[in-house]
């Protein structure tokens, strides 16, 4: 017999109660669509937020350990008021060997030594406080993808050349090819030629960052041959924190990952994830209750038919499986339709909601794994929700059922 009794009855009963079936199917579809849509939306938005935040930031920064005031006497009976020491600009001791050590550490994909410190940029009467960033362009590009942000010229410089942001250029009234004066608190002064302009989509950075060669910054900041920090890029974004802790223990230096410098953002993201999970759980519960209640009603409606089937030799297990199948069908069909609906919603949203610069905030993509997982979960939930009504149907006394 190729025709499966339970399957046939499940489908036919569903078709018979058309309105009920359609309504609960719509419920499951809506539930699954919201879950898939929310998950895709939040995953993508979180991805793009992290991307944006990290695009102008190193994943890990190594700095010299902070200088602290040491107490001469360790007598507990003396009340001491210890003032924190001001932190002067210092170079990392033996930075070349540390850079070498880091380069050989697995999980780190780029290393860029940087000599960075405060300075003034001047042109004619305009004077702006800026952050000097002395680096080796080839190394630095590995850490911050500067090529993406260049609006004039290329991210490359030698000797007395400099690259500044478009907002600083505006403030100083200069452009590519002009010369600006850089002045540091050590009294050193240097005239540099602007070879390129960048726009990091961040006004503050556009006003403050002034790139020079490593050597130029070293001499301007008076740390000859030294670097103030080493910027790193890691392979696993969310493994940055433990990696930073390991490096700190290894080198005794101050090592901070993006996860610590952006702890507020990470907190917000994890709160968002928790909220999303809560919403998902509640939707699953509501959908399950919906399936259960529809099937309970259906069992009552089909009481007489169940009695006849039992009188004709249908076993309890067979009757039970009819309704379990129905639960599974609701789950499977609902999740396939839900996946399509969520794809439509994603397409709509990605066209309607865009970033201020006109680029899309997220792409209308469906993660196949997510769809498969949602289908499996929906089918399992469907079968579990059908369990109660199915048992009720199986336990029905055929005599009572036929008489009703």
């Amino acid at each position: 017999m190729t025709l499966n009794f339970e399957w046939l009855l499940a489908l036919r009963f569903l078709r018979e109660g058309r309105m009920q079936s359609l309504l609960i199917l719509a419920g499951v579809t809506g539930g699954v669509a919201v879950i898939i849509f929310l998950t895709q939306l939040i995953n993508q938005l979180q991805g793009s937020i992290i991307d944006r935040v990290l695009s102008s930031q190193a994943h890990i920064v190594i700095r010299p350990a902070e200088e602290s005031a040491l107490r001469l006497m360790s007598d507990a009976h003396i009340a001491a008021n210890i003032q924190p020491r001001g932190q002067r600009l210092r170079s990392i001791d033996q930075w070349e060997s540390i850079a070498q050590l880091v380069r050989n550490t697995p999980g780190i994909s780029a290393v860029s030594p940087v000599a960075s410190g405060p300075a003034f940029a001047r042109h004619n009467l305009a004077s702006k406080s800026v952050a000097l960033v002395g680096m080796i362009p080839n190394d630095y590009r590995q850490v911050v993808k500067m090529n993406k942000y260049m609006i004039k010229g290329e991210f490359n410089l030698t000797g007395d050349q400099t690259i500044i942001g478009k907002d600083l250029a505006n403030d100083l009234g200069v452009s590519q090819g002009d010369r600006i004066q850089i002045l540091t608190d050590s009294g050193t002064q240097q005239t540099l030629t602007i070879v390129a302009l960048f726009d990091l989509n961040n006004k503050d950075l556009n006003k403050r960052w002034v790139f020079t060669t490593l050597r130029m910054s070293q001499s301007l900041l008076n740390i000859p041959g030294g670097v103030s920090n080493i910027d790193l890029t890691v392979d696993d974004l969310f493994g940055a924190k433990p990696l930073a802790q390991r490096l700190s223990a290894q080198t005794g230096l101050l090592v901070e990952s993006w996860m610590e410098t952006n702890s507020g953002l990470l907190n917000a993201l994890s709160n968002q994830t928790v909220t999303n999970n809560l919403i998902r759980v509640f939707i699953v519960i509501i959908v399950a209750l919906g399936i259960t209640s529809v099937l309970v009603v259906s069992v009552v409606q089909k009481q007489k038919e169940i009695g006849i089937l039992r009188a004709m030799g249908a076993k309890r297990g067979q009757v039970m499986r009819i309704f379990l199948w129905q639960g599974a069908i609701f789950g499977a069909l609902g999740s396939l339709m839900g996946a399509s609906l969520s794809f439509a919603l994603l397409t709509l949203f990605s066209n309607v909601y865009k970033a201020p610069d006109g680029s899309t905030l997220f792409a209308a993509q469906l993660d196949p794994n997510l769809v498969i997982m949602a289908t499996c979960v929906a089918m399992i939930v469907g079968v579990l929700s059908a369990l109660l009504p199915a048992r009720r149907a199986a336990r029905m006394d055929p005599v009572q059922a036929i008489r009703s």
Binding site: M1, E16, I308, R310, M312, G313
Partner: protein, 233 residues
């Protein structure tokens, strides 16, 4: 155990509310023996216990005491599974209100007992047999009609065809003509009689109609849970 008999009831009693204050005995020691290929009627006023007795014979309820042997098999020790199996293979049911499945057409309704028992026949064989049965009850033009599109008499014919699907040695009919006009009732009765004679299938028919009962081979009259047997021939 006598294989000559399709049904043997010995001292069968049925009580409801056992152990409670209002224990009521509905059947007080019933003895019935039906031969294979016999055609019998079960009559009695309302409340005499006819339906209960038919439910016991139909294995839909269990007797409180006594022995029930169907097709040579003692049912007292059988599990629920085995009872269902026996019911499916040895008994055909015809109810007063036909009880066809409204979602299925006439052909599918007749095939249903075979679909339930996946071991029985292939789909093709089941369909051939169901078509033959429907033709035999005069419904060769109504294979694909839903029960709602058929008259009462036609619905009862479908129910008869369905009861014969598994070639049961015994068919139980509960007021099969109770819901029909005199003419259709007579047709249905003749049809059952014909099947009985041609296919050697035993029938036990519950009826109020004394005229129909008189046309059966034997009549069991149930009064207040006691049996009074009359043999017509």
């Amino acid at each position: 155990m006598n294989m000559e008999h399709i049904l043997q009831l010995t001292h069968v009693r049925k009580s409801y509310g056992i152990g409670s204050i209002v224990e009521t005995e509905v059947l007080h020691g019933i003895d019935i023996t039906l031969k294979r290929a016999s055609f019998s009627a079960l009559t009695g006023p309302s409340g005499s216990g006819k339906s209960t007795l038919l439910n016991l014979i139909g294995l839909l309820e269990a007797p409180s005491s006594g022995e029930l042997i169907i097709n040579g098999q003692n049912t007292s020790q059988l599990s629920d599974q085995a009872l269902t199996q026996l019911r499916g293979h040895s008994l055909g049911f015809i109810f007063q209100f036909h009880h066809l499945l409204p979602a299925f057409n006439a052909l599918e309704n007749v095939m249903m007992p075979s679909i339930i028992d996946s071991q029985h026949l292939s789909k093709q064989q089941a369909m051939i047999r169901a078509k033959a049965l429907l033709s035999a009850v005069g419904l060769e033009n109504a294979f694909y009609k839903k029960p709602a599109e058929l008259s009462g008499g036609m619905q009862q014919r479908v129910a008869i065809a369905r009861a014969l699907m598994m070639r049961p040695p015994l068919v139980l009919a509960d007021e099969p003509t109770g819901n029909l006009d005199t003419h259709s009732a007579d047709d249905i009765f003749k049809l059952m009689r014909k099947i009985n004679q041609e296919q050697d299938i035993a029938f036990l028919i519950v009826t109020h109609d004394q005229r129909l009962a008189a046309r059966c081979d034997q009549t069991f009259n149930l009064v207040d849970g006691h049996l009074q047997q009359k043999t017509t021939d």
